[in-house]
Amino acid sequence: MEVGFEEIAGRRVQVAEGGSGPPLLYLHSAAGEALVWMDVLNGLAEDRTVVAPAHPGFWESQGLETIHDIEDLVNHYLAFMDARGWEEVDVMGTSLGGWIAMELAARWPERVGRMVLAASVGIRIPGVPMADVFAMSLGKEEDARALTFHDPHHPLAKMAIPDLMSLDDDELANFLKAMAATAKIAWNPYMHDPRLESMLGRVTADTLLIWGRSDKVVPVAYGNRLAGLIPRARLEVVEECGHSIMLEQPTAVLEAARGHLRAGAAAAA
């Protein structure tokens, strides 16, 4: 995996890229995991060129001042695809990234090939509240781990949510930037776009939804709902898995995602 910079719609953005084969655009969650890379992206990179940009405001990606809502992010990624010369590309998105992917696929169905959505936000189900990830504060890291993992003592839970006091200034800045960039898009309406639900019928991409059975941030009811709203979608639920799906059950996620993406490649061949 290599990290480089590209100029997209006047914004200097940081992009992690690795592997070989047809491109797969990976849209990261509020955790900004793209640049950390991970087992799942490593595995996918075996037969795909995984391209994982940091959203504006995350890591060293610039240009958050001209991003005001989810639509601006959709336009940002359209510009990204144009810059790459992709008429159509497979997209995988996790949580916040899944929301961006859905907006893209609903507004520009012809630009999205196959789609994988992991523990995605983006819609709201009355009576099934999402947890408030912005309320996490100093000294409450344990609570946050319990919220985002099925097993809060999972070896990677502390990597995902470290004790904030133990971070150096750069690490703390990255964390604060990620939260601020997420808040700019997702503070209110909280983690969703009230228009999205009515647009999802336009999605033409074959879509795999992957959800952790124990997701307490975006309960699995959201996966079920999306499976009903997106025309060619199916839901796969991963047992003993919370919202931090890419870290808690990487093998299950990788197998499901790879299977879905390879089925597309086989059909094309």
Binding site: L176, K177, A180, A183, K184, W187
Partner: protein, 400 residues
Amino acid sequence: MKFFAFHLMPYRDLPDDFEEHHDTAWVWVPNELWDPEKASGYYNEYIDQLVYAEELGFDGVCVNEHHQNVYGLMPSPNLIAAALTQRTQRVKIAIVGNALPLYDPPTRVAEEIAMLDNMSGGRIIAGQVVGGGPEYFSFSINPAQARSRFAEAHELIMRAWTQPGPFEFYGEHYKIRYVNSWPRPLQQPHPPVWIPGVGSLETMEFVAKRRYAYMGIPYFHIDFFKKTYGLFKQACQREGYDAHPEQMGLLMPIYVGETDDQARAEFEEHFWYFKRKLIPGLTLAPPGYTSIQSAIRVFRSVDKLFISGVETWDGVERGTYAVVGSPDTVYEKLAQHNQELGAGNLLGLFQLGNMPADKARANMARFAEQVMPRLNERFPDAAEGPPAQVAFPDEQLAAA
């Protein structure tokens, strides 16, 4: 020196074991705890205390705005100020302040302050604040827009007061085709503006440039204030003038007893009620609420330099989180600190936590009679008043 009595109007009747069951005094503190019987008298009692400040010779009274919390029960300081315009004749009424981003459109603030200025005969000080971190949760206003909303709302309000209407205002957040505020304020061109700040350079520069008054947000270690006021004075110097004492307000919990021992014995329990029950959650900093640099600075200083880290009375004394003692002691401490700070406005919190009315009033009386005159002598008012405020410094430069 000018003396103001500041009131937070706290919730006084929380259960003794409150902090064992609740880790915040803000946003999520369940309002089922509100006891209508006990609490219904708060407002009138607190207003009486501010009216008493006028009788005692204070120059002004201060109210402020907070929402959905037990620390301060004034979601609308303007309502309290309206009552005060009718109950007082002389004192300045400082609203420090209205949290501008919580008003949409913020022309509401221009209108209400103008009403109050007329109702009070021109006694209003118009404080303007960004609003506390918890309020961004309570209002679901995007904290990543806190600073830009504040700057834009400030501009809109100042234009509404000073620029002939109707005019069109098109900003990023507020788009109003016809701004034409009736009434206009009595004080011309506008009531004096005070801006509270936690110590960010951006805010100090904003205030210094416009020659507004700066007020340090309290509950930090005294060394933190000394640094902050030093930076504010430097910011004024960069603008080509020396900060006037009345451009600086020092806000402190103050308790005057007959003797040092009596003062502590009477005051301490209320301080701990305040610190343990009312403060938790106050520092909640939602994402994007400040610049990343400021957020890191506050993050690193909260444990060492903020009241939440204080556990012993010795710690209270060393950090001057409250000025407590006999009249002599209180005078000496305030004189000593202000020698360095140079503030011309002293804002005292005389009622703190669950302090009952009789104690708060006796405290105010002892302060007014035995401390205020000596501080006045020590820090006489400057021959000239503070510089004229300049709401639109860039435009003035352009015109010149």
